[in-house]
């Protein structure tokens, strides 16, 4: 089964057949990244953005993702709010860490597709508490991984893995990931800012199994410094339906799926 990286459910890895007693941090994260997964997925994504006063804004997206030999293709159609309706965004990402993502956006008011710069990984995704980097896969070799302890979280035995970027000026000084033993799901992740202060906490709230594949359906990212939070919910999920390559083209960016 091809590797499939569903951006919005990053850290939602699972299902390894075996693991050794003595694990390294890199092995744990490798198991997370290389978990079995589906060839394609389509779903409706709802993002609920809350600010510190409790005011809520909702973003709705219809998304399609397909694994390709070199990486992954994804297309997203913005459904709500009204002022971004029918905007579409396409991303082709590559396993080769030296190759930048290819990204395009279709703005219905402009009536044309624009290739956009992909060097804005630290930008917020649609105003949420997720950055594009949080939502995408990082190459295993981008960070140094080490197990700092083992502990039980939500009655699950976990490795706690610290990952430190090898890249200078990366937006996080380090991250801590609670990886459930055996399933290799990252059930919690803490992000520390450049001053090594806790910035954000990602939690997995729900998952479901489809076609033998566990899909994380509900996550929340809380920014502990400003009190904002974002909840992502996947609904109407379909996996392994044989999405055609023609879905990830200029034609389909301009024409929302029926």
């Amino acid at each position: 089964m091809k590797k499939f990286k569903i951006s919005v459910v990053l850290l939602m890895a699972f299902a390894s057949l075996s693991f050794a007693d003595e694990m390294s941090g890199e092995q744990v994260i490798s198991n997370v990244y290389n978990r079995p997964s589906s060839n394609d997925l389509q779903a409706n994504l709802t993002m609920e953005l809350k600010n510190s006063q409790g005011n809520t804004r909702v973003r709705e997206i219809k998304q399609f993702v397909k694994a390709i030999p070199e990486g992954e293709k994804k297309i997203m159609y913005f459904v709500a709010p009204a002022d971004v309706k029918n905007t579409s965004f396409m991303n082709w990402s590559y396993d080769d860490a030296s190759k930048s993502d290819d990204q395009w956006i279709y703005l219905p008011a402009l009536k044309k597709i624009k290739r956009i710069s992909s060097d804005s990984k630290s930008d917020s995704f649609m105003g949420s508490d997720f950055t594009y980097d949080d939502l995408g896969d990082r190459a295993l070799s981008d960070d140094t991984h080490s197990i700092i302890r083992e502990e039980t979280l939500d009655k699950k035995d976990c490795y706690v893995v610290e990952s430190v970027s090898k890249q200078d000026n990366y937006m996080y000084s380090r991250t801590l990931t609670w990886v459930e033993k055996g399933s290799w799901i990252g059930i919690k992740k803490e992000f520390y800012d450049e001053d090594d202060e806790l910035l954000k906490v990602l939690r997995v709230l729900a998952s479901e199994t489809l076609d033998g594949v566990i899909i994380i359906t509900n996550t929340t990212m809380e920014n502990v410094q400003n009190g904002h939070s974002t909840t992502m919910t996947l609904k109407d999920i379909l996996v392994n339906k044989g999405l055609d390559d023609s879905l990830f083209t200029e034609r389909m960016m301009k024409r929302a799926p029926r």
Binding site: L49, N51, R57, V58, A80, P81, A82, D83, K85, W92, S100, D102, Q103, W104, A109, L110, K111, K112, I113, K114, R115, I116, S117, S118, D119, S120, S122, D123, S124, M126, G127, S128, H228, S246, T249, E250, R251, R255, A256, R258
Partner: protein, 418 residues
């Protein structure tokens, strides 16, 4: 006007009944107020807009209609269809028939190969993107193979760019020492198949490169003003007769954009044949015209600095085989600069877009700030500031931006999208 409104509504409801109940309807209401910064404090614009979009998409067909209303105080309301078309979908081909906006090219804010849809320049370049291009009645066929597309467009009837009224503050009127009269008899193009327009485009979208190769045979949207010296047969006084006329052009061109280490490089160019340029006679009056080939191209660069999106473009127009009597300069150079930043969870957007004319050292500077009070409700504040090189005595129509130096304005827009 009332008849037109009724016709639009009846047509829309006919379409709705054909396609059933599941019609998507969205649109916006907007109020737009602009005030000149000069001593008059005149309103540059007082406009209320209601824009509706009707969509229906089935597996094999769809339709779209976009009626809109502009309302100005003490004036008749302006109702029209921005677009109204039917789509037919085949396995590897789409056919779109009706009034539609067709946008080509990779340029931002300039029109090099983007020549299919006419423009609405009644407010110079200040209208929103969606509004500056007008729909054109046409048949568009797209054939797809892999990530490539072949597009053919046939426009049965030429529609010119909408220019400002002569009384508008956006009109560009040449001044002469002797009186002028305008003859519009040559402005209209006969409505028959011989005078129709046709465009072709081949485009591809790959990881390495997006590209377009295109060609067209069409009428130039902006008319050339032919000038003839005449004598009034009654008064016996000389005058200049100005005759606007659209000329047929042939164009080949292309565009590309590519990502290099997270930065986007863009280019677009077109080579025109048969373009007519006014030229000076021996009395320094532009009564002559010369046909010259013409090159128009752009190079652009998009990048990010932190969370700020930046974009810059260099644009050049070059008249080939140039002759000194031609009124226009041999080379006309412009640069644009865009800076945009979102903050407060993408509810606040600050933007600065600038055109700088290098030939005349003039500029249009467009700062703006927009804030989303809630989803779909946006308020914008901005300015359109024209800069003119004050070493010249009087504004000249060749000054693209400086000519409107007295039209500096501040504006606010309140928009609710649904």
């Amino acid at each position: 006007m009332r008849y037109r409104f009724i016709l639009i509504i009846v047509s829309l409801f006919s379409a709705l009944s054909l396609f059933g109940q599941n019609i998507e309807i969205d649109g916006y209401a907007r109020s737009y107020i602009g005030v000149l910064t000069n001593d008059t404090h005149d309103y540059s614009i007082l406009q209320n807009t209601f824009d509706l979009k009707f969509h229906k998409g089935l597996s094999k067909a769809g339709f779209f209609a976009n009626p809109y209303v502009y309302q100005y105080p003490n004036q008749n309301i302006n109702i029209d269809l921005r677009e109204a078309y039917v789509d037919l979908y085949f396995d590897n081909m789409d056919l779109r028939i009706g009034k539609q906006q067709i946008i080509w090219g990779k340029a931002d804010g300039v029109f090099i190969t983007d020549l299919v849809s006419p423009k609405d320049l009644s407010e110079f370049l200040l209208r929103d993107f969606e509004e500056i291009r007008t729909g054109i009645t046409s048949i568009k066929a797209d054939y797809y193979f892999g990530n490539n597309t072949v597009e053919c467009v046939w426009i049965p009837v030429f529609v010119p760019t909408k220019m400002p009224d002569e009384s508008s503050r956006w009109s560009r009127i040449p001044t002469f020492l002797i009186p002028t009269q305008t003859d519009y008899s040559m402005k209209d193009i006969p409505e028959n198949t011989d005078e129709s327009e046709i465009f072709f485009k081949y485009s591809g979208m790959t990881s390495a490169l997006d590209y377009e190769v295109l060609a067209g045979s069409f009428y130039e949207d902006d008319p050339t003003i032919h000038i003839e010296k005449k004598v009034d047969p009654v008064a016996g006084t000389p005058f200049l007769q100005l005759t606007p006329q659209h000329h047929r052009l042939n164009m080949i061109g292309g565009s590309f954009s590519t990502d290099i280490k997270g930065k986007v490089f863009r280019g677009e160019g077109a080579y025109y044949t048969g373009k007519v340029f006014p030229a000076m006679d021996s009395y320094d009056i532009p009564t002559l015209t010369l046909d010259k080939d013409y090159l128009y191209y752009l190079l652009g660069f998009d990048f990010n600095i932190g969370e700020t999106k930046m974009s810059t473009q260099f644009i050049q127009k070059a008249i080939l085989d140039y002759e000194s009597s031609i009124v226009a300069e041999e080379f006309d150079n412009t640069i644009t600069f865009l800076m945009s930043r979102n903050c407060l969870r993408e509810t606040l957007t600050a933007q600065l877009f600038t055109y700088i004319g290098l030939n005349n050292s003039d500029a249009l500077i467009r700062p703006s700030l927009s804030y989303d009070f809630s989803d779909g409700f946006e308020i914008s504040l901005g300015a359109n500031l024209f800069y003119r090189n004050e070493t010249s005595v009087e504004p000249d129509i060749s000054e693209m931006f400086g000519y409107f130096d007295t039209n500096d304005m501040f504006y606010t827009k309140v928009k609710f999208s649904f």
